[in-house]
Amino acid sequence: MASIELLILFLVGAGLIAYLLTKVNTFLGSIFTIFAVMFVFVSLAAYGFNMNMDTVVNYLPGISFSQTYLGFYFAIIIVFVYLMVSFFHPYYLNEYKYKDSYNLLFLLSLAGILGAFYTDNFLNLFFFFELIIWTTMFLIPQGKSREAAVSYFGFSVAGSVAMLIGIFVIFQNNGNSFDIATGLAALNGTNAIFVFILFLIAAFAKLGSFPLHIWLPIAHGNAPHPFSPVLSGALVKLGAFIGVLALIRIAPATGLFVAMDLPIGQYVVALLGSASIVFGTLMAIKEDDAKKLLAYSSMSHGGYILVAFSILNGLAFAGGFYHILAHALASAGAFMAIAAVARATGTTKMKELGGMIHKMPITYLAYLVAIISMAGIPPMGGFISKWLIFQAVINKGMVFVGIAVFFGSVGSFLYVFRPLAALFLGQEFREYKGVKEAPILMLIPTFIIMGLNVYTGVFPAGILEFINKIIVELGYTGITVSTYAINGSNGILNPALISLVFAIGVAIAFVIFIVLKKSRKVDLMDTYTAANFVHDEHLLHYSVDFYAPLERLYEKQSSWMKKFYTALAEKVKELGKLGKYLFMSKNVATTLFWIVAIIIFLLWGEVL
């Protein structure tokens, strides 16, 4: 029996040891971190699937745990991403200024995650959330910019405050108890709508969905290279967790759209999710930095998750939960491939890179597999989840959500192909002649994630059966899954068959290819240039403003949200200046007057 409490305490202790070890030797500390995370992962995997974790609390005061399929599903995915990423630490930490504390903070945030998904108390939930936010906030500025941490923290705090108010409403509503299960069940009427909105604000802020998405590209783009996969693959999913609480567990009784058989609140969330999909897709198409591009893609996939959870039936939930897994694997894989390239070349800007495939073929394959999944193409996991979501959307007849969902699906081709073409394919740059493939320790997680991406796409049945348990736990009926086939609402899908047929097709093509005359190998620079002699490979590499004609169609509109938030920040700054002017003036009497006035105002009716 593995105890949650002991695991958390173990992580805190391991964090301290890792801190000391890293101080002595970075490599040693990082290896220790890998083993610590591996221990946690193995304990979770061994006992968690059958709900065999020990939830008794002996040492920590005021904290209580319980286990649910829902919490476990999120926890295992996130711990897995943490484990994969920890393999990257030995090669990156030396670049950072405060490398000693990196492993400490990393393990502490993992402790926060375990707590957050296993607690049964709202106050504990909030505490663990804050633990995650605070630890990660100090991890992010180790990359490039402090501004990234500030904007991450700002949006997270907005979400936390909203959640805290919601928790207080529940507290008051539920007879002064912080218990999650009874608290959510006791909500009704206006209170339910109020908490619904507050929790959704928290969910949107964590998920980086429209309109609270500004922090996402800034934080993802500037975070340390090994931390971006965690941010995108794991931490964003916290928002999905709160979203599940709000959309499914609270689900306030608002008016109903008869045509779609859907509450208005849910439909509005679906529309916001759609906006998030479209907006994320368009911005990702425009982006030049590979990491920021993937960050916008996370935003778009967050939209899919929101859409899935706002359609209230088992099919959509299955799609949503499967998408959480598929996207975690895909985005972790993609970010890790980019991180490997960034380690070798020192940049993630697409216009400065090219032809990495000839140096790093395995990293290229990892990225390829990840983006196939991200674009929702068989035989990878993303296809299954998108198929389930499409089934649900079509079945409900949600036309406008449908536009966004299909647009995002096709649009994801466009943006995931860009790093592929600009970073890996194309001309080989002379400045990267000496670059080598990533070291073996970094290739281990790459291979594991590649394998899992394929596995989730070919044999989804086992995972879907587990998801069915979650759906039943949430009070809905699960979907029908047989060994190979998945039954949707209006059709049946056999992913294994698709993969097999695809393999047969490739085999046929390979036979055609191999029996024909062997090709003459030519240099990359020996290309058709309208018979001009070009000796500079940079001139033959088309990667800057890749989708320029498309971008031109919406370039005027693309900065609206940014301008709105800049204006908002200006207003807040002015407010702050006003406060400063009033309170911090040189005249002591004025300051005193205001302090007294405010105390009187606050205590009016209570004491006075």
């Binding site: 003459r520 058709y528 002699f533 500079d536």
Partner: protein
């Protein structure tokens, strides 16, 4: 020789099998000739009438292509200055084999009216092997099409093997190119 019950089946050698396949390939090749038009000179004006409804090149299975990789015929239409010859050789070497060269007009044959220019070469087959010459200044569409039909006949009779000659006498061609052009692939500020 047909194999019967009494004569043992003769086993074909690999060379013979290759030759058989090559003949099959020749059938397809001569019925689907794609052109890369190197429109350097005035003879290029004869190509629109030979492609459009009056003479309709497409009924012979011929058509224009965009890049040298896809094309079978390098069609040199008219005079070649030194600068274009460099690009012509570069293009010719990029084409996939088997490849043929057809030269229109009198300029590639002997320099034509530019025979004494400092910038125009006199004889194309010194630099790349030419399979068919179509004489005339300019040749009219009938003779252009006649040239192509000759090329098809030649492919059938296995006489159109300029690309093999280029491989066999590669040094000789390179020598000629070097003598007339200096260097084939130029380096200067516009190409770096």
């Amino acid at each position: 020789m047909l194999s019967t019950k009494f004569t043992p089946k003769t086993k074909l050698t690999k060379a013979e099998i290759d030759r058989k396949w090559w003949e099959v390939g020749d059938y397809f090749r001569r019925n689907s000739l794609w052109l890369l038009m190197y429109c350097t000179g005035c003879c290029a004006i004869e190509l629109p009438p030979s492609m459009t409804s009056a003479y309709d090149m497409e009924r012979l299975g011929m058509g224009p292509m965009a890049t040298p990789r896809q094309a079978d015929i390098l069609l040199v239409s008219g005079y070649l200055s030194l600068k274009t010859l460099r690009r012509l050789i570069y293009t010719y070497e990029q084409m996939s084999e088997p490849k043929y060269v057809v030269a229109l007009g009198s300029c590639p044959i002997n320099g034509g009216i530019y025979h004494d220019s400092h910038a125009v070469i006199n004889q194309l087959d010194q630099y790349v092997p030419v399979d068919v010459y179509v004489a005339g200044c300019m040749p009219n569409p009938e003779s252009v099409l006649n040239g192509f039909v000759d090329l098809m006949e030649g492919i059938k009779n296995k006489t159109m093997n300029g690309w093999k000659r280029y491989h066999e006498h590669y040094e000789w061609y390179k020598e000629n190119q070097k003598n007339s052009l200096g260097e084939v692939i130029v380096h200067d500020e516009f190409h770096q």
